[in-house]
Structures are given as structure tokens and as C-alpha cells.
């Protein structure tokens, strides 16, 4: 076998490792092993590439890889679990930027060797990875900024936004077409620069709570940009790995927007939502609807004598850093013979599956985490539901009220349980700005205050019962 064949075999093994790694991610038992296998695949791929005959200089590679790798490792070790969405956005942007730079460099190599026009396959793949990679780079950095709260999380809009973006997109495509037939570096650089602006202006109008969809979407973009560089470089591994990621990002984008009851298009172009509104609900007759409160000590007594308790955590729980007290409460109740589980809505948190990670970090065993369907089947047999920092995902209007903005969104049907306790700071509405009739349900009691303080108090009271 020649060296070229050996490299291809190594790429095949690497592809196999990636697929096996993703396969093992289907269960928490094997997931860690799966990630390790994928990492080994990556190592094999990189070593195979380093011995490629076309690679002649190693100095720059070593320096760049060392610097990049160290920064990546350092950030990944330090980052807090609540900041996971930012990190994923940032890493995603880096991948997109790398794909764009590879395409730009390939294009330059062809321009330097005196070629006049690109072949069709090369043209499409170079232009695709330049443009999509640039959009993904800039868009991910803005998403990072929003999640890190460097850039305001609310939608930022300006007049004729869609028209300007549309115009920008047309200009980019025109430049790309021109640059394909007349190889000229500055034209491609201009296209990349406008694509960067497009990435910024596409993500700025998207509200903070829509970030799960945006991150998944940008993830798909980077994957596809990587696959396109595979076509440009004639490299099967890049195509396979890039497309795997593209498929994953696309599936998650669809899943997330379905769980939010919005189309992907309305998330990406909608500028939806703002700061939560406030105010109290007003009944049909015009008077304010009643809200019943409960004290922590009363609740503690109820909890201890319950058979089954379900906890519905929302992002508010993570904001209040209340994962640990909530786990303590669950442990205490379990020790008293109460059956406790957590019901997790697909969009709880700032990225797909974020809440599960936050609870896992607080040592909640994963067999206590229920997905929406399981939880909904359980609520009718549940004595007490604790809704902590969640609002829209438990709003019965999504099921009952056809005039509601939330109508059709799959929810956790907590109102099927016997008692519902809502932990809340105030009566402000949720992200969607929709009033929640659950709070006025006769079986609901409100526990007002900071979630962390309320839970800490509750833990003490349960210990005292």
C-alpha cells in the first residue's frame, strides 16, 4: 500500500470513530466513551494528515496548533456549566472561521498559479465555505456576545432590516459568481467581508431566548461549510464529518423550533419577544384575578406527606443558581420515602438539553430526569408539582386558548397534578409576554421570592418537620 492509500484508510477509521462516537451518545452510560472514541478518531485523522506528502513545513503548524489547542483546553476546563451555550457558540464560530479561511487560501493558491476561472465543483464549494463559514463565524460571535451579555440580549432592529439583509445577500452571491469566473482575490475578500456583516445583522435581531435555535442552526452551517471545504480539497473525511455535523445541527434546529411552536424561519427572521412585560391578569369582567400564596413551612409539611413530587425547573432556576438547593430538597424528600423526579421541557435553558447538564452538575442522577412525554403521563398521579423559574412551558393557554400566542406549543401539563406550587419572583409574564392562567388556577399556590432563598428555606423547614 502506498502512503496515499494508508492515509485514506486512516481517514476511514476516523470516520468510523466519529459515527461510533455519535452512536454511543445515545445513552448516558456509553456517552463518555463515545466522546473519547470520536476524539481518538480526530487524533488519527490529524496524524494521517501530518504525514501527507503535500505537507512540507511543520513549524507554523506546530505553533498555531499549540496556541489554539492550549487556549481551547484552558477555556473548556474553566467554563461554568451555565456558560456552556456561549462556549459552544464561540467554538462553533472558530470552526466556521477556519473553514472560510481555508477556502480563501485555496482560492489564492489558484490565483497565484495563474488560473483564470474555477471549475464548477470547486467554484461552488469554495464560495459556499467562504460565505457560509464567514456568516457562521460572525453570527456565532454575536450569539456569544448576547449570551455573555456583552451585546444586549433583546432583539436589536433597525429600519428596512430585512431588505438590507436581502440586498447584502444578493451582492454576496453576485460577487461570488463574478469571482468564480474571474479569479481575483480582492473580490472574494469583499464577498467574505460582506458575509461577515450579514452574519452580524442576521443574529442581532434575534432575542436571547431564541438562542437554542440559533446555536443549533449555526452549528449546522459550520458543519456544512466544513463539508464544502472537503469538496474543495478533495478530502472525503471533511465531507463525512462536516455532513454528520450538518445533519445533527439541522435536526436540533427543527426539534427546538418545534418545541417553541415556531417555524425556523420565524425564529431567524422574526425579531420575536423582548423584556418580560408585567402587570396582573384581568378577568373577563375587568377585575384582577385572585392569586393564592403559600409559605415555605406549610409547603414543607405538604411535601413530606406527599407520595409523588415532580419538579419542573426552568432557566430561572439556573439564573438563581438554585440547582444545588433543589437537589438537596429532592434528596431529603427521597430519604423520607417520597418519590421525586424532574420534568424537563425541551427548551428549558439556553441551548438544547442545557437544563439536564445543569442538574447533572448538581449531582442529580439522570434516572430522575424525565422528558416531556414521560412527565406528562406522570402528572395525573403526581401529588405536588414544584414549578421553579419556568413559565411559558407550563402555560395551559398553549393547549386550551386558540387566541394565545403560545397556542400549539407542547407544554408540561402540570395542571393535571393534584397541587401546583409556583416559585416566582413577581407576577411578571414570561418571555413570550403572555399571561399565565396557571397562576390563577384554584389548585395553584404561589411561593414568591428568589428561587435560591425560597429553596434554602424550604430545605430547612423540611428538615424541621
Amino acid at each position: 500500500m502506498t502512503r496515499v492509500d494508508l492515509i485514506q484508510v486512516a481517514y476511514l477509521v476516523a470516520s468510523f470513530c466519529f459515527i461510533l462516537g455519535l452512536r454511543w451518545l445515545s445513552s448516558p452510560r456509553t456517552a463518555r466513551r463515545g466522546n473519547l472514541v470520536a476524539a481518538v478518531g480526530m487524533l488519527i485523522a490529524i496524524i494521517a494528515t501530518l504525514v501527507d506528502g503535500r505537507v512540507i513545513g511543520y513549524t507554523w503548524i506546530a505553533i498555531a496548533a499549540f496556541v489554539g489547542g492550549s487556549i481551547g483546553a484552558l477555556v473548556a476546563r474553566r467554563v461554568q456549566m451555565t456558560a456552556m451555550p456561549q462556549l459552544v457558540a464561540l467554538l462553533n464560530g472558530l470552526g466556521g472561521g477556519a473553514a472560510a479561511l481555508i477556502a480563501i487560501s485555496e482560492y489564492h493558491a489558484m490565483s497565484a498559479s495563474g488560473e483564470v476561472a474555477l471549475g464548477a465543483v470547486i467554484a461552488v464549494s469554495v464560495m459556499f465555505s467562504t460565505i457560509v463559514g464567514s456568516i457562521s463565524f460572525a453570527g456565532s460571535l454575536v450569539a456569544f456576545g448576547k449570551l455573555q451579555e456583552i451585546v444586549p440580549g433583546r432583539p436589536i432592529t433597525w429600519p428596512a432590516q430585512k431588505m438590507i439583509n436581502g440586498l447584502g445577500a444578493i451582492v454576496v452571491l453576485g460577487l461570488a459568481a463574478y469571482a468564480s469566473f474571474n479569479i481575483h482575490d480582492p473580490i472574494l475578500w469583499l464577498a467574505a467581508a460582506i458575509a461577515l456583516l450579514l452574519g452580524v445583522s442576521a443574529v442581532l435581531p434575534i432575542g436571547g431566548a431564541d438562542m437554542p435555535v440559533v446555536i443549533a442552526f449555526l452549528n449546522a452551517c459550520t458543519g456544512l461549510a466544513a463539508a464544502a471545504t472537503g469538496f474543495a480539497l478533495n478530502n472525503s473525511l471533511l465531507i463525512i464529518a462536516g455532513v454528520l455535523v450538518g445533519a445533527s445541527g439541522t435536526l436540533l434546529t427543527q426539534l427546538m423550533s418545534k418545541a417553541m411552536n415556531r417555524s425556523v424561519a420565524s425564529v431567524l427572521f422574526g425579531a420575536f419577544g423582548g423584556g418580560g412585560g408585567s402587570g396582573s391578569a384581568v378577568g373577563a369582567s375587568g377585575e384582577a384575578l385572585p392569586v393564592l400564596e403559600i409559605s415555605a413551612s406549610d409547603l414543607a409539611a405538604q411535601l413530606v406527606y406527599a407520595r409523588r413530587v415532580m419538579i419542573v425547573p426552568g432557566y430561572g432556576l439556573a439564573v438563581a443558581q438554585a440547582q444545588h438547593p433543589v437537589r438537596e430538597l429532592a434528596d431529603l424528600l427521597i430519604a423520607r420515602g417520597v418519590s421525586v423526579a424532574f420534568a424537563i421541557h425541551p427548551v428549558a435553558g439556553r441551548m438544547p438539553g442545557h437544563m439536564n447538564v445543569l442538574l447533572a452538575e448538581a449531582d442529580v442522577p439522570y434516572d430522575q430526569l424525565l422528558e416531556m412525554e414521560e412527565a406528562n403521563a406522570d402528572f395525573p398521579q403526581t401529588d405536588i408539582v414544584l414549578v421553579i423559574g419556568a413559565n411559558d412551558v407550563v402555560n395551559p393557554a398553549a393547549r386550551d386558548d386558540e387566541s394565545s400566542a403560545l397556542y400549539g406549543m407542547p407544554i408540561l401539563e402540570v395542571d393535571n397534578a393534584e397541587h401546583v406550587i409556583v416559585f416566582k419572583r413577581s407576577m411578571a409574564t414570561g418571555f413570550a409576554g403572555v399571561e399565565n392562567m396557571l397562576f390563577h388556577d384554584p389548585k395553584t399556590r404561589m411561593l414568591f421570592g428568589d428561587a435560591r432563598k425560597s429553596l434554602t428555606q424550604l430545605v430547612q423547614d423540611v428538615q424541621a418537620v
Partner: protein
């Protein structure tokens, strides 16, 4: 490699991707995202090819160095953080054995 071969690879990989990823439970979607994030760091392979073959050209060297650094950060950061997350997913500990006697 011919374009058609590459296209076949693309379609098959997309199929496998959809099949495998649709089996990942919601609970693991964040690790799935950061894991696939690390996998698209495979662009580092392309970056190495570009930079390694750059015989001193300024544009190739600058693009290549930045691309390799970005790709390396993407790969290492992605796998490390995914591992950190996955090691936190634990089952309920076995109930402690009761002392006989």
C-alpha cells in the same frame, strides 16, 4: 476522487448522521452539540493541508496559521468540555449495604 464519488459519500454520510443522531435522547442534546462541534473541528485537517503546503506565500501562511489555531481550539475545546459534561451524568448511587448483625 470524482465528484460523483464525493456526492455519494455526502448522501450516505447525511443518512447515517440523521439515523444516528435521531436516537440521541433530549437529555444529552447539549453534549451532542458540543461533541458535534468538536467533530466539525475536523477542518483543522484542511487547515493543516493548506498551511503545510504553503511555500512561504503570505496569504496562505496567514490564513493557514489562523485556521489551524481556530481549528485546534475548536477540536480540543470541544472534546474537553464534552468530556467534562458527560462525566457529570451519573446514575443514582446503589443504596448503601446494611450491616448484618
Amino acid at each position: 476522487m470524482s465528484f460523483i464519488t464525493e456526492l455519494v459519500i455526502l448522501v450516505l454520510a447525511a443518512w447515517v448522521g440523521v439515523e444516528v443522531i435521531s436516537k440521541v435522547p433530549q437529555m444529552l442534546h447539549t453534549p451532542l452539540m458540543s461533541g458535534t462541534n468538536a467533530i466539525h473541528g475536523v477542518v483543522v485537517v484542511g487547515a493543516i493541508l493548506v498551511l503545510g503546503a504553503a511555500a512561504g506565500g503570505t496569504v496562505e501562511t496567514i490564513c493557514g496559521v489562523v485556521a489551524v489555531a481556530f481549528g485546534a481550539a475548536n477540536v480540543v475545546g470541544g472534546f474537553v468540555v464534552t468530556d467534562r459534561m458527560l462525566q457529570m451524568f451519573r446514575r443514582r448511587p446503589e443504596p448503601p449495604k446494611q450491616d448484618q448483625g
